[in-house]
């Protein structure tokens, strides 16, 4: 099962490499990763997605919690949550396809953020499966380049991950 693990950790050099190292050292996979400082500059928020059954995820979260720089973490997929990923995608847009691509962008509520006579650069946000669906809709042969930010997420309602 796919999981979104969100970690609050000390914003210190070396902390990130310990998290990444843990995954490779113990044979866990990281599917996506995003990290940036929070409103409190001493803390970073790291969100990663991984796959595993309950036992494996339990081991992963226990080991993450053991890292000295990890302050708190939550498996967002355990409760109601909001998931977003940003994608910038360059697609071929010539002839009849130009209008077709534009329509798809509108349907997916994306934005065309740069244009040339043959190429559209599109910005799209949403859950990862929505971004996947967009690529599917456009057709892979049209795609020239894809950049995705990795998932970030937050719990719904009043639950917060903070000190």
């Amino acid at each position: 099962m796919r999981r979104i693990i969100s970690i609050l950790m000390e914003n210190e050099p070396g902390a990130l490499s310990r998290v990444i190292g843990l995954f490779s050292q113990r044979g866990y996979n990281i599917e996506s990763l995003s990290v940036a400082p929070t409103e409190d500059s001493t803390l970073s928020r790291l969100t990663l997605t991984t796959f595993g059954n309950d036992l494996k995820i339990e081991q992963i979260t226990k080991h993450l919690n053991k890292l000295i720089e990890v302050v708190k973490l939550v498996d967002l997929t355990e409760g109601a949550h909001i998931e977003r990923e940003l994608m910038l995608i360059k697609v071929k847009a010539t002839g009849a396809q130009r209008a077709e691509v534009k329509r798809s962008v509108d349907i997916f509520r994306g934005q065309i953020v740069d244009v040339t006579s043959t190429v559209y650069t599109i910005q799209l946000t949403g859950a990862s499966d929505k971004l996947d669906a967009f690529i599917g809709a456009i057709g892979e042969t049209q795609v020239l380049e894809v950049v995705r930010s990795g998932v970030s997420g937050i719990s719904r309602g009043e639950k917060v991950l903070s000190l």
């Binding site: 310990r18 190292g21 050292q25 339990e58 081991q59 919690n65 000295i68 990890v70 302050v71 000190l163």
Partner: protein, 573 residues
């Protein structure tokens, strides 16, 4: 406030931590610190002959005393030489501080002379590590390092110190912090009371219980309480390789070590049990054999300070996360409150069954009338010569297993070996560390002709500091443990498992200024042992020739359950 250089701060912090010994080896990047060490006399520096030995010596010191071992090495090769020792300590949860020099801050990343990314290289084998980025931070970093190394599940902590941060002319105010404040590190201090009560209920209902006690009981100073609990309940106790001594080896309730080379009765007891109380043990693969066939009828109560250990290999029915000392104490009072007693009738039947198992194998081995001595005989002679009261360190191989099986450890911290990593070369430097901690104690290093050669240069250190360690070299002229596997699984093809040109160990010991003895006949063994141990202030290297074909038994059959064992070369369960 006092103004100190970074180098002086390092040394002062060691003093403030009450460190007696630091094991190390100098080099360019730590010379400022060595100069500061020279100008004081509270912390003694022990000069080893190889940095790996410094780490094992500090490790041996830590295992024997419970206090953290401290190491200092230079950057680059000095630091990388410390990696095996860090990994050894990490696997066995031993508190250790390694101070490694680093190139100047402004050279880091330039492939400078003797630069190694030590934080990166050591990352998977340390509990935590620090890089000193500002000399002002040294007191706080040192305090945190000792705190992290010694609390919770203990482990090694590395501090990497660029040379410019220790410069003698840059002074900063020094005050050693009294307390550590870390929002992201809070080791568990109490087990869950509800879980402890649930565990007591389960123990009361048990008809075939067993206590399975590991290294965590020794680490957490829980031996007395565990012994009290076991006596109170009259349950059988088995120990892991790391737990030997946490419950007296000669106690009638002790069924011996469990696992791959555990006793027949310990493995049978485990397999047939209905309740297992696992204390400070991590259900390692050398113990469980095939996890799918592990103790099919048992409910598992698992006490460990590290939540990641619980249900890692085997699901625990009643997990209790907490320090063994506190949990056992609370468990004892919960027993009082409960007021009941375990089912005596069932226990009586259980003990009868166990006594029956004891008779099946009984750790017997065949002796040769006129042929070579058996390694087991050597350990038994050692036990006799030392009155069972020595500190025994060991290397890795068959001799290690024999030393675990045939020496009965009645006290914790007496048996000192590398279990998790299985590091050949551990024994002699570890014995040095123990001897420094207890100068008057009898310290024996049980080793093999393979292992001893991995850190034999330390004979020189032993001479320098007058360490009267007794080296019991069980010389089977082979990498015996490897050979055993080749006998059992590779049709007796001894690929690279024996050594054709062994040194004359007696001459070697003498060349290093020690006493050497060679023993080839069993009838000379006892006399030679007594003679060696009578030489109270000399290191004696006993080179004892034994049967090269001997195997360690019992031995669990790979992929089977705990009760599937070879009992000799021809008998199996």
């Amino acid at each position: 406030m006092e103004m100190l250089s970074g180098a002086e701060m390092v040394v002062r912090a060691l003093q403030d931590e009450g460190v007696e010994y630091i094991f190390g080896y100098p080099g360019g990047s730590v010379l400022h610190i060595y100069d500061a060490l020279f100008q004081q006399d509270k912390v003694s520096h022990i000069l080893v002959r190889h940095e790996q030995a410094a780490t094992h010596a500090a490790d041996g010191y830590a295992r024997a005393t419970g206090k953290p071992g401290v190491v200092m090495v230079t950057s680059g090769p000095g630091a990388t030489n410390a990696i095996t020792g860090l990994a050894t300590a990490f696997m066995d949860s031993i508190p250790m501080i390694v101070l490694s020099g680093q190139v100047r801050s402004d050279w880091i990343g330039d492939d400078a002379f003797q630069e190694t990314d030590m934080i990166g290289v050591s990352r998977p084998v340390v509990k935590h590590s620090f890089m000193v980025r500002d000399a002002k931070d040294i007191p706080e970093i040192m305090k945190k390092a000792f705190y992290i190394a010694t609390t919770g599940r203990p482990g090694p902590v590395l501090i990497d110190i660029p040379k410019d941060q220790t410069a003698p002319n840059v002074k900063n105010p020094y005050e050693y912090p009294k307390k550590v404040k870390m929002r992201s590190y809070a080791p568990v201090s109490r087990g869950h009371s509800g879980q402890i009560r649930k565990a007591v209920e389960e123990l009361m209902k048990a008809k075939r219980p067993v206590i399975y006690a590991g290294g965590g009981v020794i680490q957490g100073e829980g031996s007395e309480l565990l012994t009290k609990l076991a006596h109170r309940l009259n349950f059988p106790v088995t120990n892991t390789l790391m737990g030997l001594g946490c419950f007296p080896g000669t106690d009638p309730q002790n069924v011996g070590m469990l696992g791959m080379h555990g006793t027949y009765e310990a493995n049978m007891t485990m397999h047939s049990s209905d309740v297992i109380l696992a204390v400070g043990a991590r259900l390692d693969d050398r113990v469980t054999n095939n996890v799918k066939k592990f103790c099919p009828g048992a409910k598992i109560i698992h006490i460990d300070i590290d939540p990641a250990t619980i249900s890692k290999n085997i699901m625990a029915h009643i997990p209790i996360v907490g320090p063994v000392h506190q949990v056992l104490e609370e468990m004892l009072s919960a027993l009082d409150e409960h007021g009941g007693e375990p089912d005596q009738k069932a226990l009586e039947r259980w003990w009868e069954e166990i006594e029956g198992w004891r008779k099946v194998h009984g750790m017997r081995y065949e002796t040769n009338e006129n042929g070579p001595m058996k390694p087991q005989q050597v350990v038994e002679a050692l036990y006799k010569a030392t009155g069972g009261d020595a500190y025994v360190t060991s290397d890795v191989g068959q001799h290690q297993m024999f030393a675990a099986q045939y020496y009965k450890y009645d006290k914790p911290r007496r048996w000192i070996n590398s279990g998790g990593l299985g590091t050949m070369g551990f024994g002699l430097p570890a014995a040095m560390g123990v001897q420094f901690a207890f100068p008057d104690a009898t310290v024996a290093c049980v080793t093999g002709e393979g292992s001893i050669q991995m850190n034999i240069q330390e004979l020189s250190t032993c001479l320098q500091y007058g360490l009267p360690v007794k080296i019991i070299n069980i010389n089977n002229q082979a990498l015996g443990m490897v050979r055993q596997w080749q006998d059992m699984q590779y049709g007796g093809r001894h690929s690279q498992s024996y050594m054709e040109s062994l040194p004359d160990f007696v001459a070697l010991a003498e060349a290093y200024g020690h006493v050497g003895m060679k023993v080839t006949k069993f009838e000379d063994l006892e006399g030679a042992m007594n003679e060696a141990f009578a030489l109270k202030d000399r290191l004696v290297f006993m080179d004892i020739y034994v049967d090269p074909t001997e195997h360690v038994y019992p031995m669990q059959i790979a992929d089977g359950s705990m009760r599937d064992m070879w009992l000799s070369k021809t008998e199996r369960t």
